[in-house]
Symmetry: D2
């Protein structure tokens, strides 16, 4: 039984807390939030202790692992402090607001030698993972084209958009990570175009809400990623890896199995209402993988370096959107 | 080039005439109809000669094969005359109005020794045939349950219902044949229930428009067939063979490939509007098989005996509907 | 917070205990099993008290509701004792081993006036419930044909088969209930055939493992149900309601969303491995409905009477299998 | 009855000849090929007259319309001569080998005032056309992302690659046309990357066999097109239009309807073996539209100008591949 504390009890922190509480290999010791009232709510549901002062988490010798789910601008600070305190760490993505501070944090954590996992939970979606396995088994042969889609369901509030780092760093970053993971390959050049087609206020905030990214990989494979902040039909996520021997796809998923046949139409249940409904289970699987790696003493994956590399691609793609030119990566 | 004449130029006769005319292995010599004006219409489209007197077809030495597509009550007569004239014969189903006259015709034709094929064209539907192949390959193992569905699109006119012999003899008979063909097995007992749920006039005519049939096969396999004269969503035909190793299905087919994602729904193009649109191609494939068997000198299949056996099942199922009891077959 | 005890901590009792433990509207007070070691295991996972003597459950004034998940032959006894003790009851299906003892239990419980729900959890499967809603909304018009399928994954042990009451009373009974629920109608006549095609030992035990049932409803609608104890491709459950205006279907569901395109094939993830994986969530939803009805003071549904009616259909269908004749119901 | 001659009786010319021959509104007068033996073969199948000297086609007053299906380098010459001769023209794509000569031909033909249609037959694929209708109806709202896929089945011979103008001008050009047609919008900037991943010999010939194109449209909509010369699973063509109100898709199509359920998999029939099998019917529909426009006296569509515009996009995308930069269009 690994004793874990969750730091930050917003929406995702609370999801993590519940998953840890019901995991047979973990004990949720404490949930911590600068706003103790938030912490208390999550504590009530999970049976953990509510803590308002984060320092108490780091000094508590009983706590073996911490899960950082606070706002992005605090990640670097908490990563360093948790590493100094010798805790194993599960950190929500992204590592930091920019590549430089993220890199510093990674170095500091690596120096401390604690196990760290970055919260790219989509790798743990059963269907995405099945694509990865198929590709690794050689079912599609040599990879030639990768196509990733992430749309919807609704734009975040403008206040969030302003501190998010932009669509590519905030939304598409998951898919930059999936791309590296699926292909076991690295991008060499990226080109991106985007626009504020959904909400002009997003454009006024200097961001885009609709974008497509073209990437050339070191192996020569080509990748395209399309992202939209809004889909009028729920949350649309799709993965396709095309290679010399075939195609592997993690297709769109419906929220339910009703089909109605009427007139000249078949009316089927559509996609999940939101991204959380679509990938909810992957949060549990990610925690499970984290706990298992601690138990076995193997390095957790995805690593902080994975986070750093995805962040670099996002930075370069953002630069491409601004300059209108293809940008080299790495 | 086999020289063929089509006898009867109603809807299906005209379909056959066009298929023969465009088949590279056949020449459509003549199209014949008691109503010469009908024959002329089909002649104009196909470039064949229009004939009003059927005797001319039988005495024409150039004609090697005839296709009988006249009303059911004439089949027995024309089968005998065509056989006497030494023609190869493709005869539309069913052989005759009742089992006794059908049996007599079969005996007469067999005595003449001419090749005869019965128009159970559904055997030539690509997807149904793929199920048959999968079953024959052993993909589903030992057959245990067969489920066949035939629904819609619209009830025939009451005038037709009255001379059709009833739903089981007219509509379901195709599926009795498919059942024998798919399983390579024979029914031993049949039970059927039905009702006039679509149109009370069909009930007043002594027939049903909705029915389900339960069949026990000699091998022990169980089969259920549901038939409806009307489907509000086009024509619904489906085949499923369940066995010890798996399931083979010829699924519902859509008439087109549009999908619309809107709100919480996916709206897809539905089924074909009618049975003809669904199985149109199988008419061509059936003619092709007939011509190839003539060319090679192999016996055409399905045979008249197949027609007789399907007719017997239909008779017994009809008896079951009337008596409310299971009826032994054969 | 309703305080609940679970009686019987076998596989399903343990599932119920975990669902109650995580339900925000309930508190799992105790788990009880004649074998206290079993009870302790479930207690350890759920945090409830382990009890070996069932009398303690009935006399414990704190316990407001009991969930009966013991072997079928104890249901009637426990139903009566729980009713006498004034507990609300959730009872696993079936009510009893035969219709007469079930009827007596129902009368006794009704006299006590306690709220009782019978565990026909499939009614709470999201997709099945969506079919029910569509039908109730009139989307399919007047019901004409219902087709229900339940296959696999593996035959139960012969020891279980011998006390199960037979396939129709044990497996198909869920679908007799679904039929009544979906159609809001009652059967008037039932005909069934079956065989031991999967395992001869099942036949030697006097049971069948493969069966098809034909039912005529009071409204005139026709229904067919096919059941198999084994499917080589996981667990196959499907519901189809065909009516004058269209068709509603709760289709087969895949356990995951991978598609592989290779050569001339698309290889997709198949069905869930077992019935539990397929309908796991419905157990939670059923408990949720039970708790909500207690909270609101409305009668829980499905009721014991629903259980009795399904049992009657199962009895009559079993009689039909034995006699080879259609049997009137009710 | 419009009298038509087909010029060029290679594979596609022969397809057109057969379609014209069976069209009720046309009469196939002649088929012409510099190689009279080729012409004779097509003549034998269609019943048309075989002609070896193209001048006889242009001087034959009976011929009202010509279909040009000769190699691309002859199109401009034949377009001008057919226009001078006052014939209506259906011309296979592309208009010419480069934009300049194509533009001259268009001007010459326009001056002559004859009706001309360019053979972008994919517009007549029933499912693609259904997407167009849905978009035009407003079903997807304002268009934001368009995704087009064209893959396989096999690379053409190197001899063909060398004179093809490159993958974007030869294969992707159909999709540049579909993009303009679906969106009723024009590209303003294009970026493309590509590689010879399938066959190094294609790279040595200065071409690519795998490419992705990013396009920004005048409306702000973004488009991505991926093309591959080879797919190990048949021919893969897919269209997706994503907008503010939803998504319309012309999905992948299977060549047949078999599904096999075995173990943990569903094995379904895959895609059509080649592009021709997938879009065969659209050739007939295109001819039908051409003949109907002649009959009604309305201008045929797609027009030569449509051909010119698609050619311009292909030129600019090819330039982008070579320079590594985004290129303005028009």
């Amino acid at each position: 039984m690994i004793k874990v504390a969750v730091i930050g009890t917003g929406f995702i922190g609370s999801v993590h807390a519940k998953n840890i509480a019901r995991h047979p290999g973990a004990e949720l010791e404490a949930v911590c939030d600068a706003n103790i009232e938030f912490a208390k709510k999550t504590a009530a549901i999970t049976g953990a202790k509510a803590v308002g002062d984060i320092a108490q988490i780091f000094t508590n010798k009983d706590i073996q692992a911490v899960l950082i789910a606070t706002p992005t601008d605090t990640h670097v600070n908490y990563l360093k402090r948790a590493a100094d305190a010798g805790k194993a760490i599960y950190c929500e993505k992204p590592i930091g607001l920019n590549y430089e501070e993220a890199e510093q944090a990674v170095n500091a954590v690596r120096a401390a030698g604690v196990p760290v996992m970055l919260g790219f939970n989509r790798r743990f979606d059963a269907s995405h993972a099945a694509v990865k396995e198929a590709v690794a088994r050689g079912d599609v042969g040599k990879i030639e084209i990768v196509q990733l889609t992430s749309r919807g369901p609704k734009p975040p509030p403008i206040s969030y958009v302003k501190v998010s780092g932009g669509q590519l760093r905030d939304q598409t970053i998951h898919f930059f990570d999936l791309l590296r993971w699926l292909t076991n390959d690295e991008p060499v050049e990226v080109y991106a175009i985007g626009a504020a087609l959904v909400d002009p206020a997003i454009g006024e905030a200097g961001d885009v809400d609709t974008s497509i990214v073209s990437i050339r990989m070191a192996s020569g494979a080509l990748c395209q990623i399309d992202s939209s902040r809004r889909a009028a039909y729920g949350y649309d996520e799709r993965i396709e890896v095309f290679g010399s021997e075939g195609l592997a796809e993690s297709a769109r998923q419906s929220f339910r199995g009703l089909s109605l046949y009427r007139g000249s139409q078949i009316i089927k249940d559509g996609l999940h209402a939101g991204w959380f409904e679509r990938i909810e289970q992957s949060y549990y699987e990610a925690i499970d993988a984290f706990l298992k790696s601690l138990e076995k003493g193997t390095p957790p994956s995805p690593s902080l370096e994975d986070g750093l590399k995805a962040q670099l691609i996002a930075d370069k793609a953002t630069e491409s959107i601004k300059t209108g030119r293809a940008v080299k990566v790495g």
